[in-house]
Amino acid sequence: MSQPAASAPARTFSPAAALPGLAAGVAVLYLSIIVLLPLSALAWAARDGGWDAFWSAVSAPDAVAALKLTMGVAALVVLLNGVFGTILAWVLVRDNFIGKSAVNAIVDLPFALPTIVVGVVLLLLYGYQSPVGINVAYTRAGIVLALMFETLPFVVRSVQPVLLELDREMEEAAASLGATPLTCFRRIVFPNLLPAILSGGGLAFAKAIGEFGSVVLISGNIPYKTQVASVLIFGRIESDNQDAAAAISVLMLALALAVLMLIGLAQRWGTKHDR
């Protein structure tokens, strides 16, 4: 139980907000229909043709290239948004300027803007008819740009509350002892923020490796060059190669679960840090 205070005395009655068994049963059935059965069917289809079929699907040259590219751009995007996200969080917590609350609100825009619209708007500014002379359409830089947009809020929103809670006395003490701002950040602020940066970065990574809508227009889907995993899987489905699509999908599913586990670890590390 996560309520130490409330659950300390031995209960002689069932928990108050007790769900009638029926509600819990229906909820589990709902989860099964929407999530569990489909994912089981996916795993089933992936092993349908045997290990050889699975292996040849995931080791097809274009699939390997797509998976490598996906990992690479996702890692780069996490690095970029790790840095910019932390800076943004710092500015939103420690700095003061007119319009700060509007800036704070706009950070959530990527959560709300449909992914396909993200692709359309980015191509307007950074596509063939770019008014600023930057054209990243059909390039890997374009994929990175789209993923930067999509994953911008994660690190900001995970670092912000930690920074807000952070006691400033330590920093002031360090500064009074002659530490430069950079030393202060490196030795005091950064170690305290690291778990939050990692868990936000993990979420960004998970989102980035699976992203489809914002990438599909801007990447141009050129095999070996700009084809990411989700777009490749979409192509396999369209060309009626569902088994190969399922095999690569299972790989992505395993990856997503692994990233979620690592995020859980980072969060647990963060709460330990607090105490």
């Binding site: 709300a112 396909i116 980015l122």
Partner: protein
């Protein structure tokens, strides 16, 4: 001196990043959609396919949001107030829709409920077509937007504790009365915040719906799908116009999030 210089430098970097990445592109689309005045914009969003897409998108949201709200609350109560075998598994599966590619989600649904899938034949015999039609699109939408309400309600439930609920129960209130009179009022802001996030996701989902809908023009085409088709078909005015409608919904969402967030965290 150096401290304030650092401060201005960081502010410049942070705002520049937001401006170049988020703000200018979104402002650009507003300008582009209204480049030739309001007329072409209005014509584009009132063409029959676009109107149909708007209706379909709203219908799907109208079915999906209440379902995921109700079950989100149930999942949150299960995870916070109860102990049962498989609790950590439930917790993991509630996080999965955030981390899983929408294309993979769409494919999984096809493999379970599509032709040649696990239940495809039985469903077809019962006269129920899931894939390439509305039920499949709703399932895809439910999958991708499943966690939002539960994720928002869980911390609130932890925060309020269960003393009042227990008091109500000792005084003889049934489970439903306790929920309606005690729990629900206490978690309402969390629920509302979750509903805002769920609605935005339901309206904006592209990948999972694109896979399962089969893109039947004028039939299974939601607003995000029509943006893609118009864009590919070089109807830029049409694509930009529908995008502006979606962007307006997104900006409204952000505004609502800003209004309700302090209440959730209070």
């Amino acid at each position: 001196m150096t401290a304030s210089l650092t401060r201005y430098g960081l502010r410049f970097v942070a705002l520049g990043y937001l401006l170049a990445l988020l703000i200018v592109p979104v402002v650009m689309i507003l300008r582009k959609a209204f480049e030739n005045g309001f007329g072409p914009f209005w014509t584009a969003i009132t063409q029959p396919d676009a109107v149909h897409a708007l209706k379909l998108t709203l219908e799907i949201a109208l079915i999906s949001v209440p379902l995921n709200t109700a079950f989100g609350i149930v999942f949150a109560i299960m995870l916070v107030r109860h102990d049962f075998p498989g609790k950590s598994v439930l917790n993991a599966f509630l996080a999965l829709p955030f981390a899983l590619s929408p294309v993979v989600i769409g494919l999984a649904l096809i493999l379970a409920y599509g032709e040649g899938g696990w239940f495809g034949k039985d469903l077809a015999n019962a006269g129920f077509q899931v894939v390439f039609s509305m039920p499949g699109m709703i399932l895809a939408t439910l999958f991708v937007s499943l966690p939002f309400v539960a994720r928002e309600v869980m911390p609130v439930l932890r925060e309020i504790g269960d003393e009042q609920e227990q008091a109500a129960a000792t005084l003889g209130a049934g489970a439903f009365t306790t929920f309606r009179r005690i729990t629900l009022p206490a978690i309402r802001w969390g629920v509302i915040y979750g509903v805002i996030l769920t609605t935005a996701r339901c309206i904006g989902e592209y990948g999972a719906v694109a896979v399962i809908s089969g893109n039947v023009i004028g039939e299974t085409e939601t607003m995000p799908l029509i943006v893609k088709r118009l864009y590919d078909g070089f109807d830029k005015q049409g694509a930009y116009s529908v995008s502006v409608v979606l962007a307006a919904i997104a900006l409204t969402t952000v505004l609502l999030m800003t209004l309700f967030k302090p209440k959730v965290e209070a």
